[in-house]
């Protein structure tokens, strides 16, 4: 596959602090690459270095086969960026904001008008065209923010935590919009600290912590690193110490945590763990109101790799 971005041995320091530590990765045409990590892991710094907004001490960055520099205007023309902060003019309407940013890339007025209308339809804010940003809800504002970044139909799109502080409906709308962009041929780099988003959206994921790559691969490949088969959660009323001890002693069980009424059992292996557990609970007359099984998540991977939760 054709490489759109090549990053080699990228390092960025703030005095003593290593914000990015020897990062190397590639991004391929037409994929959504997720940069997943907790706050302060170096995701945004990486994006800012890639965009040549920040200096870096070591390494090289190539975009579309060319070195990325502040004056790489031919490269910038192909790039769209949606930052974490909403970057729009308070004094301009929704339409004017999109038209302004699109106009910095597209000279032809008719083409620009067409592009602006298209992106307004894509992010579904047609009825708010004449609204000012302060008249929009948080979700609509995010959609406007995205529209401003992609109206010029870029080939490469950077999305830096675009769903922070967004309601679920708007989040779904944004995520489906991003998939559409990928389906239309764009290559996307998506940073997030929401593992669910990374799982749903990304073709490949890089997990970052303290400026280093901990792991990279597809969601399934990464989950294998978690070293667990499944997690079963049971909502119980009363649980004797003996039952708890029995469950802990099952060979396949990795850990058992009882917190208030929730019993979470992590299995390292085993194929019929849920069925066996239900049998055991019946046999020992343990009453429960809910029981469900989960496959390992990226949070488990992160926990396995770093010993802490992704959202710590």
């Amino acid at each position: 596959m054709k490489k759109v971005i090549e990053v080699k041995n990228l390092s960025k320091y703030y005095k003593e602090l290593k914000a990015i530590d020897d990062l190397s990765f590639d991004v391929y045409k037409g994929e959504i690459l997720g940069l997943l990590g907790p706050n302060g892991s170096g995701k945004s710094t990486t994006i800012n270095c890639l965009l040549s907004l920040l200096n870096y001490q070591n390494g090289s960055i190539k975009i579309f086969g060319k070195e990325m520099k502040p004056d790489s205007y031919d490269l910038k023309r192909k790039i769209g960026v949606i930052f974490q902060e909403v970057a729009v003019f308070e004094e301009l309407t929704v339409y004017e904001n999109i038209d302004y940013f699109c106009g910095l890339y597209i000279k032809d007025k008719n083409m620009r008008k067409k592009y602006v209308e298209e992106v307004i339809n894509l992010v579904e804010i047609k009825e708010f065209k004449k609204f000012y940003p302060k008249q929009l809800s948080g979700g609509l504002l995010r959609r406007l923010n995205i529209a401003c970044g992609i109206a010029h139909k870029p080939e490469l799109i950077f999305l830096d935590e675009p769903t922070v502080a967004v309601d679920p409906q708007s989040r779904n709308n944004i995520l489906s919009g991003i998939k559409k962009l990928r389906d239309n041929g764009a290559t996307i780099i998506y940073t997030t600290h929401y593992m669910e988003e990374a799982e749903i959206l990304c073709d490949r994921i890089i997990i970052l912590d303290k400026g280093k790559i901990l792991a990279q691969g597809t969601s399934d490949e990464l989950k294998k690193l978690a070293n667990i088969e499944e997690k079963i959660t049971v909502e119980v009323k009363d649980l004797s110490d003996k039952v708890l001890e029995d469950i802990k002693n099952i060979d396949e069980v990795d850990s058992v945590v009882l917190s208030q009424n929730l019993l979470v059992i992590t299995y390292r292996k085993g194929k019929n763990n849920l069925e066996n557990l239900i049998d055991y609970l019946k046999k020992n007359k343990v009453t429960y109101s809910k029981i469900f099984s989960e496959r390992p998540t990226l949070n488990d991977v992160f926990l396995e790799l770093t010993g802490k939760e992704l959202r710590d």
Partner: protein, 393 residues
């Protein structure tokens, strides 16, 4: 692309209520307040006779030009009489000043005149301006005499008639339009000084507009700046469009201020209106350049930059004598370089020079100084901007 940016910059500025207030409304409100507060003073004003003292000394007695000028300006038969002069010694002058019997006294030294006043105000300002003017005329006379002598000698006549030359020169000066009595004419009254102060302040307020729009172009200052920094537009071109838009908006504000003061407040800018407008336009450019300079050079947040800009503008205004012209005199006397590099001083000095000097040399000197100041600020800002990378976003 340039016009696209220019058009939207104008829209952005024109819809920002805070900027509109400070640029358009505030100077007009202030002008109205000045007019209301001082109209009574203005109507009843034919300047009062100002009590001053001159310290008797051989230097004063030997200085014919000063002697004659002050004799004339204190002549009871002179309709434009300005001063009531007490000739006395230094101690008595000090005591009279302390007792507020005089607004100030002059002490003549070998090649200098010291003005001592107790406070700042219109009368003190006039005293200072008269002394400045006489010094200026003295220099002119000396230059003319030197030239006359040179001409006489170069024509082969070595019997120089100094009295004749002196009289010729005095006649030239007497027939020139410049006349110290202009000071007591109704062109530059206290209220006019206030209006010129207002125009200078409004001009320097252009810095607020340019700083606002420049912040929108800097990645480390705003999210919009970050977004514009990754567009395929050259920083200089982007900034130029925005700054021209700022200047355009500033000029509209300045135009409204002139129209309002002329047609509503009936302010008479005299025969120098076009020059006053010209200086206001160039002063606005200096204000704009100052705003860009503060926005691009200082690596701090927007509020701090605003604080720096306002504080600097106020300091410049203070030193230029906007809150009392005595300060301008003190600076002139002790640190003259400050008034040469101070944009507020260049503006006010330019305005006053239209009234107090018989040629436009000083006016053009201030005008050119403002242009150089603006160019320098913009050059430094642009150089800084070109090198700028954002160490922390």
């Amino acid at each position: 692309m340039f016009w696209h940016n220019f058009k939207y910059s104008i829209k952005t500025l024109a819809r920002n209520k805070m900027l509109l207030f400070w640029t358009f409304a505030f100077p007009i409100i202030l002008g109205t307040l000045f007019s209301m507060a001082f109209s009574g003073v203005e109507n009843g004003e034919k300047l009062d006779i100002i009590n001053i003292a001159i310290v008797e000394s051989e230097y004063f007695n030997d200085d014919e030009i000063f002697n004659e000028t002050f004799k004339n300006l204190s002549d009871e038969n002179n309709e434009s009489r300005l001063f009531n002069i007490t000739y006395t010694d230094l101690d008595n002058s000090k005591q009279m000043l302390e007792d507020e019997k005089i607004v100030g006294y002059l002490e003549f030294k070998e090649n200098d005149v010291d003005i001592t006043v107790k406070s700042s105000g219109v009368n003190e300002t006039i005293l200072k301006l008269v002394v400045d003017e006489v010094i200026s005329q003295k220099k002119m006379i000396e230059t003319l005499i030197t030239k006359e002598i040179e001409n006489t000698i170069s024509s082969g006549n070595f019997n120089v008639d100094y009295d004749q030359i002196y009289n010729n020169v005095i006649n030239v000066i007497a027939s020139s339009e410049a006349n110290l009595n202009n000071i007591s004419s109704d062109n530059l009254s206290y209220i006019m000084i206030e209006f010129y102060t207002l125009i200078a302040m409004a001009a320097l307020y252009g810095g607020v507009i340019s700083m606002f729009i420049t912040n929108y172009k800097l990645a480390n200052m705003s999210a919009v700046g970050k977004r514009t920094s990754i567009t395929p537009i050259h920083k200089g071109s982007m900034l130029l469009g925005s700054l021209l838009a700022s200047y355009f908006v500033q000029l509209i504000g300045m135009g409204l201020l002139f129209l309002y003061t002329i047609f509503v407040l009936n302010v008479d800018y005299g025969s120098n209106l076009l020059l006053v407008i010209l200086l206001a336009l160039v002063g606005s450019l200096a204000g704009l350049a100052l705003g860009v300079f503060v926005a691009t050079i200082f690596k701090t947040n927007e509020n701090t930059k605003m604080g720096i800009l306002i504080a600097f503008t106020m300091l410049c205004s203070f030193l230029s004598g906007m809150m009392g012209i005595t300060m301008k005199y003190v600076v002139d006397k002790n640190i003259p370089i400050l008034n040469i590099i101070n944009p507020a001083s260049m503006i006010t000095d330019g305005f006053y020079s239209l009234y107090y000097y018989d040629t436009l040399d000083r006016f053009y000197f201030n005008l050119i100084s403002l242009i150089i100041f603006s160019a320098l600020m913009i050059f430094i800002s642009y150089s800084g901007l070109r090198r700028q990378k954002y160490d922390s976003i």
